[in-house]
Structure formats: C-alpha cells, structure tokens
C-alpha cells in the first residue's frame, strides 16, 4: 500500500483517527506518520459559520454557470494563422496564436463565461491602442467635417472641429504619460 499523504513511500503505519465521532483508519509511511501523530487536537470550529462568512464576503456570484455545449458545426474551422481547430484547442487548452481569438469567436464567449468573470476586458487599455483608436476617430470626424463644409453646414463643421481638437489633445496627453 502507498502512503496516503506523500503518495510516494510504502505505507507501513496504520493510524486510527477519530473524526466527527467516527473511527477512521489511515495508512502512512514512517515519515508522514511521524509528522501526523503529534497533532490530535480536534478544534471544533463551526464550519457552518465559516462558510457563511466566506460566502458573504463580496456578495459572491457563482462563476460556474450551466451552459450548453457549443454547437459542433463550427468546430472544424481552422485558424488561418496557426492552423489549429477548436477541437485541437480543447485538447491542449492552449491557443496557437492571437488570431485564434478571432477564429473561434463563436465558441469563445461560452467558454470564457465558465472560467472568467466576463467576456470583455475591463482592465488596462494599451496606450498605443488607445491612440490608434482616437486617431481613427479623428480621421473619421475630419471626413465628416469636410462634408459639412462642402454642404455649407458651418455650424456642424464648427462643432466637429471642436470634437477633433478635444481628441487631439487626448492623444498629446497620452504621449506625455507614455
């Protein structure tokens, strides 16, 4: 028999423990038995109150939600960049590349809901990314502004100009922080 504790050495000691009024036999090796023997204090700390305490901590919402298994139709689609299929992903539980997130966008939310607190990133936003996004917005607004000028809607154009300025100063601020 193998030691119940270290699961490595041969168990040659049987320890009888009383747990919750029930006698239990445990099999340990010499080394583990020597460590277990000394402490036989059975502190009766009510586990119920402990449980209550822990549950009340942050108005806990269970993460594990029952979810239907994702439909198997899209599962054969392979990632164009790394060649992985969703089936392969499930086997390795690892993505082959960043594009897998796009490739398996259908199945991902269901998976992420099971293992994460949500399906959307709410943490730190990459500065470069933020800048890129703002620059994109700026060029879109510029097109609208041009259109407004051509259409002689000068009030709209003025408003768009202010919006563009606000965004531009955001980009400049970002550069200072970086």
């Amino acid at each position: 028999m193998i030691c119940e504790h270290c699961k490595q050495r041969h168990a040659n000691v049987t320890v009888t423990q009383i747990q919750n009024g029930q006698q239990m036999e445990r099999h340990y090796c010499d080394v583990c038995a020597a460590q277990y023997h000394p402490f036989q204090f059975e502190m009766k700390e009510e586990p119920a109150s402990l449980q209550q305490l822990m549950t009340n901590w942050f108005n806990f919402v269970p993460i594990l939600k029952k979810e239907n298994v994702a439909g198997s139709t899209a599962k054969t689609k392979a990632c164009p960049t790394c060649g992985n299929t969703y089936r392969q992903f499930l086997k390795q539980v690892k993505f082959g590349c960043g594009d897998c997130y796009k490739t398996f966008s259908e199945q991902l939310p269901q998976l992420l809901e099971k293992i994460q607190a949500g399906t959307k990133h709410v943490g730190y936003v990459e500065e470069k990314h933020l800048k890129e996004k703002i620059n994109q917005q700026i060029s879109e607004l510029r097109t609208l502004q041009q259109q407004a000028i051509t259409d002689e809607r000068f009030e709209d154009a003025a408003k768009l100009r202010d919006d563009i300025r606000a965004l531009e100063s955001k980009v400049e601020q970002g550069e200072e922080h970086a």
Binding site: Q35, M43, W57, G96, G98, Q116, A117, T119, K120, H121
Partner: protein, 366 residues
C-alpha cells in the same frame, strides 16, 4: 552578473526586510504578454523564438542604460539540470521553463525581485516578487517593466479580450497575483479544506508553495486570483487582498484558541521541533518543512527563543534539494541530502542563537 550570483544567494535583497506579519511570507505578481502577429510558443518555430529573444534583449539593453534595474540574460538550454532546479526553488523561473530543451530564456535583476521569462507558455511573462504583503508595490514594479517593454514591442492586444494569451485562463489583464501564507494552525485544526473550497468559489486558487501539485509542505499556501478577464487589475488586487486579510484573521484567531486550550501540549510540540532542527542528524525535506513551520509558529507565539523571520525564510529556501546540493557543492543521493540538510539547518540556527546570546535574555520582550 553571472549565474553563480543567483544560485548561491539564499538571501536576495528583496527578501531582507522584516515584514510586519509573520503569516504572510511574500507576494508575487505575474503579467502574461505576447508579441502581436507572432504565433504562441505552443505552435511557433525556433526562428520565431530566437527573434522574440532578440526583441526583448534590445528592449532591455535600453532599460539597462537608463535604469538602475539591470537585467542579466540567460538561455535555458545552456544550463545544467541542477542550476535550473535551484532557480525554480527560488521562484525565479517556472518549472515549465526549466523543462525546456531548446528554446526559452530569462532575464533577472540583480536583486532578483524582477524576472522576465521568455517563450514559456507565453512569449513574455513579467514577474515581480516582494517580501510580505505588498501587492500594490509588486504590481507597480511589474507594470513599470511592462510599460517600458510596450514602448518598443507591439503586444498582442485587442479591445474586446485585452491581452491575448496562450491559455484562456490568463486572457484580459494577464495578471496573476499571489500571496504566500503560513497557516499552520488552520491546517492543524483541519479548517483548510473548507477554506480552500470557499476560496475556489470566490475565484481564488490555493496551492502548496513548493510547486504545482505539491502538498502544503510546511503549511505554506499560495493564494492567487483565478479570474483575469471581466475585472480590472485594481479590482483583482483588492479582492485578493481582502481574502488574504480574512484568512490572516482566521489564522490569528485559531492560534489564540489553540494557545488557550492546549498551551502545554503546544509548547512541547513546538519545542521538540526546534530540538529536532538543532540536533537531528538526518532530515527529510518533509520533516524539515514541518519542523520549520512549527518553529516559525513557536517564535511568533513567543513560546520559543526569538529567531528572525529572515532567518526562517532563508532556512525554508535552502532546505530544498537543489539548493542543498548547491551548498554542498556536489550532487548528493537522497540520504546524503537528508544528512547535509540536517547539518546546514543546524549551522544556520546556531548562528542565530549565538547572536541572540550576545543580546541577552531581555531580547525576549522586544
């Protein structure tokens, strides 16, 4: 800095502060990052790996010029097994990286508080260690390096999923924050199982200190966040901090109760452990861990002569098989290791007793 510096130093400077709690041992932050448009290590080529190492080297060369945090660079494949094992025991690299045959590298700061693992499960993993409970500080340090790298490296990042990682359990913030706790009385009084179950439901993971899947050797547990997506970095750190504070209170209460109910038995047990460490000729790592745990508890309860936490932390570190052999300067069979371990711990603890002797009996009350 050559590798010997990191192998022999059992008392890196980040470990040299006395923390205010004897229950919290250390804090660790890890940020998982990948480089945009390069396949993840599970499917990339050796060429990709080389290129990633180069990119990081170039980025960090610049940091070395303008930053006091100087990084040393090592390739895993150049290192013998024992060296790798020691770095794992010191938590400077992961077991995963240590197993690598061809690819994999890491960067270390001189004080060992920051390491950057390259081409492990993700292209980049920034790790920061701190003594005691210091989540904000450790995160701040990791973030500094992260922001620095992001200047010259385009990360795989998306609006919707944040930082893209090889495993969906890291996506989003890529942040894993861990606190190491010494919980001897919660373990002894069999409250840990219930606690672990509860923590799992709160989105926390509990592990033994000596690597994945290891038992709670020495009653030291590592508590980490499980969630990386759908919560901000700040919330993740705050929640972990709250959980840890509650556990500390629980352990403190359990200690008080134990001391009230069975003081003589407790003092006897803890003193015997100190006796074992001081006089045993053969010590397995299990027995050493268990005795050190008892001594740590005894010192903290004032039942044993004062021994600094720094000393105890050092003992916990050096009793591991890799470091034992490093100290012995030779490859040792398991029985030889157990003998050398007994000798080494004895020396460490005797140094301490001598120092206390000089201070005299009064140091007890401090």
């Amino acid at each position: 800095m050559n590798i010997e510096h990191f192998l022999t130093n059992a008392n890196p400077s980040w470990m040299q502060y006395e923390s205010d709690s004897d229950i919290v041992i250390s804090t660790r932050i890890r940020l998982a990052r990948n480089i945009a448009n390069v396949r993840f290590p599970i499917s990339f080529t050796e060429q990709d790996a080389e290129q990633i190492e180069h990119q990081l080297m170039n980025a960090l060369l610049a940091i070395n010029r303008e930053n006091p945090n100087r990084f040393s660079y090592f390739k895993v494949k150049d290192m013998p097994q024992l060296q790798r094992q020691i770095l794992v025991e010191k938590h400077l690299i992961s077991p995963n990286l240590a197993r690598r045959q061809k690819i994999g590298a890491f960067f270390l700061t001189e004080d060992e508080s920051i390491s950057i693992l390259v081409n492990e499960e993700d292209h980049i993993r920034i790790q920061s260690l701190a003594q005691g409970m210091n989540l904000q500080q450790a995160y701040g340090e990791a973030k500094k390096v992260d922001r620095y790298l992001s200047k010259s490296i385009a990360y795989a990042y998306e609006d919707r999923y944040g930082y893209l990682t090889s495993c969906p359990t890291n996506v989003g913030t890529g942040l894993r924050a861990s606190v190491m706790l010494h919980l001897p009385v919660l373990t002894m009084t069999k409250q840990m199982n219930a606690l672990i179950q509860m923590m799992t439901r709160l989105g926390m993971v509990v592990r033994g200190i000596y690597g994945e899947g290891s038992d709670n050797l020495g009653n030291v547990y590592q508590i980490s966040n499980q969630i990386t997506l759908g919560k901000s970095e700040e919330v993740i750190l705050q929640e972990l901090e709250k959980v840890v504070e509650q556990i500390i209170q629980k352990e403190q209460l359990a200690r008080k109760n134990l001391l009230l109910r069975a003081p003589a038995v407790l003092e006897d047990r803890l003193s015997r452990s100190l006796g074992t460490l001081k006089y045993a000729k053969i010590l397995t790592s299990e027995e050493a861990a268990s005795c050190l745990s008892n001594v740590r508890l005894g010192v903290s309860l004032g039942l044993l002569e004062p021994i600094s936490q720094r000393k105890l932390n050092e003992c916990m570190l050096i009793m591991q098989p890799g470091l034992i052999q490093q100290y012995a300067g030779a490859t040792l069979q398991s029985t030889e290791r157990d003998m050398y371990r007994a000798k080494l711990l004895q020396e460490k603890l005797n140094e301490q007793t001598r120092n206390n002797g000089e201070k005299g009996e009064d140091s007890y009350d401090v």
